[in-house]
């Protein structure tokens, strides 16, 4: 037994759009449109310097491709929250920057690959964000500069179901004030 029942009332709904409002008795769910508002940019004044002389602890260094501070992502092994040795130097640079810029805040977003439960993956991403937060604290950042949150599997950097993609999605991202 294999029946296909098309329950589409698209035409009816479309007709309703053209002429009459939905009947109040049907108790329609209130429709609310949410689009994120303009991002609040809170960039402190930037001292004008020649590009080749960027102060390594200035805000300009955050966007300088030659500075390690322009790199904001670190990657994790499957089912792991351990910050790998290869990322210690990068985190040290960010820890030093945060120590030198006490007014600067950072949002650390942990991410997970798509396999398994969304809420459990959210918790896994949180563990990764926490690992980054703890490392930065040891490297000079203050607790009140940092917030560790998780995006779970919801914001993949790569969408194919492959080992390579999953590796890119097991990630911690660092966002500074003005970037979140």
């Amino acid at each position: 037994m294999r029946a296909l029942i098309s329950l589409s009332v698209a035409t009816l709904l479309l007709a309703a759009c053209g002429s009459q409002p939905p009947a109040p008795e049907q108790n329609p769910a209130g429709v609310e449109s949410r689009t994120p508002g303009a991002v609040k940019v809170d960039t402190p004044p930037v001292v004008q310097v020649k590009p080749e002389q960027i102060d390594p602890n200035s805000n300009a260094a955050l966007r300088d491709p030659k500075s390690p501070l322009s790199k904001r992502s670190i990657y994790f092994d499957y089912d792991s929250y351990v910050v790998k040795d290869e990322f210690q130097t990068l985190l040290a640079a960010h820890g030093k920057f945060l120590a030198a810029n006490p007014k600067m805040k950072m949002l650390i977003q942990g991410n997970a690959d798509e396999r398994g439960s969304r809420e459990y993956n959210l918790a896994l991403g949180q563990k990764r964000a926490e690992a980054v937060r703890k490392t930065l604290t040891l490297l000079g950042a203050r607790e009140d500069q940092l917030e560790a949150v998780s995006l779970g599997e919801e914001k993949p950097a790569c969408t194919a179901s492959s080992e390579e993609c999953w590796g890119k999605n097991r990630r911690g991202d660092m966002l500074y004030s003005g970037e979140f």
Binding site: L7, C17, V31, R115, S117, R118, E119, L124
Partner: protein, 422 residues
Amino acid sequence: MRFQRLFLACAAALALCSVARAQLTVEITGAGANRLPVAIADFTGERIVAQALTSVVRADLERSGLFRLVDGGSPLSDSATPPYEDLKARGADVVAGGSVATAADGRHETRVRLSDVQKQAMLGNPAYLHSGAQLRATAHRIADFIYEKLTGEPGVFSTRIAYVVKSTGRFELKIADADGSNDQAALASREPIISPAWSPDGTKLAYVSFEAKKPVVYVHDLASGRRHVAANFKGSNSAPAWSPDGKQLAVVLTKDGSSQLYVVNADGSGVTRIATSSGIDTEPRWAPDGQFIYFTSDRGGSPQIYRTARSGGNTERVTFEGSYNVTPRLSPDGKSMAYITRNGGRFQLALMDLASKQTQILTDSAKDESPSFAPNGRMILYATEIGGRGVLAAVSSDGRVKQKLSVQAADVREPAWGPLVR
């Protein structure tokens, strides 16, 4: 201000028009073994109205997987004695007929008569007063009446479901009738929306939205469209679950370190921690009697399901087989638990009888997530993937009846079946 209102009305109208194209369609992919043969005769009365009504009643009953629709022959009114011998010859055990007439106040009056063909006896004859816009709702109520008379369990055709549709750069939290029709967006966002949960009275949804660049728990009133923040602490806020009385939410917060279980009042006040572990605790769900909270924890080394008494006391482990058992969902009678288990690299929907601890895997798919019981406990709605696309599927608790619910060219996920409409 006036312009703003006009703009909002237009936005709402546009949303309605776009959802008309993105309708959920239901495909029946499996049915019960012994289906009761039922004839739903055409109702007498206003021809077009009555046909729109009976086609919905038939589709509801057919989709349940418990009935086999038999051609009822010529139209049959509620006042006439059904042609029992003819219906017997057609193989029908039960027949429903009815009539639609215009009531004194201009609305429709629909009368139904359900009869046992073998015993040649009437089983019931309800009447409904409704507007033209309430035609489908009336048909669902008639199907609920027939279902309850014939199975002894309440029907769920008048209930609603919530789910999230992801299209390019856009997430929508939708509410639709249980048959996928009449869908409306409660929330649209560029950022993800997960974990919708119905309040026990069906008036509100709690969910997690990432619009603030981090997960925050909201409670959204569906009639007014108004919402408030239920949990927005430092760190992540997620996995809302309503208490059976609708006054509190169990949530997962990370304000004190890793993901841990807390309870807040539905208005966001009075946060208290309800369990403590050194690892991950998440996905809380209240048992229907409110005595226990089931949840997922990695405290034993791998993610498993545990339960803790709401009044405090011991936490017990519930799942033991395998290395990945998550997302506990209790049946409405509290006797069984649906959950997701990893089985040879596949994530599948499983059902455990809590008294005997017997488990059964209900699906043959590989990426099952987010199970949700129908409020009569008969079907379990869940998310899975077919051909790389997110779809919803439903399976009966005995694994026999199966349905697929999909939206063209979009991912559907995070289903939540709403409560019975009383």
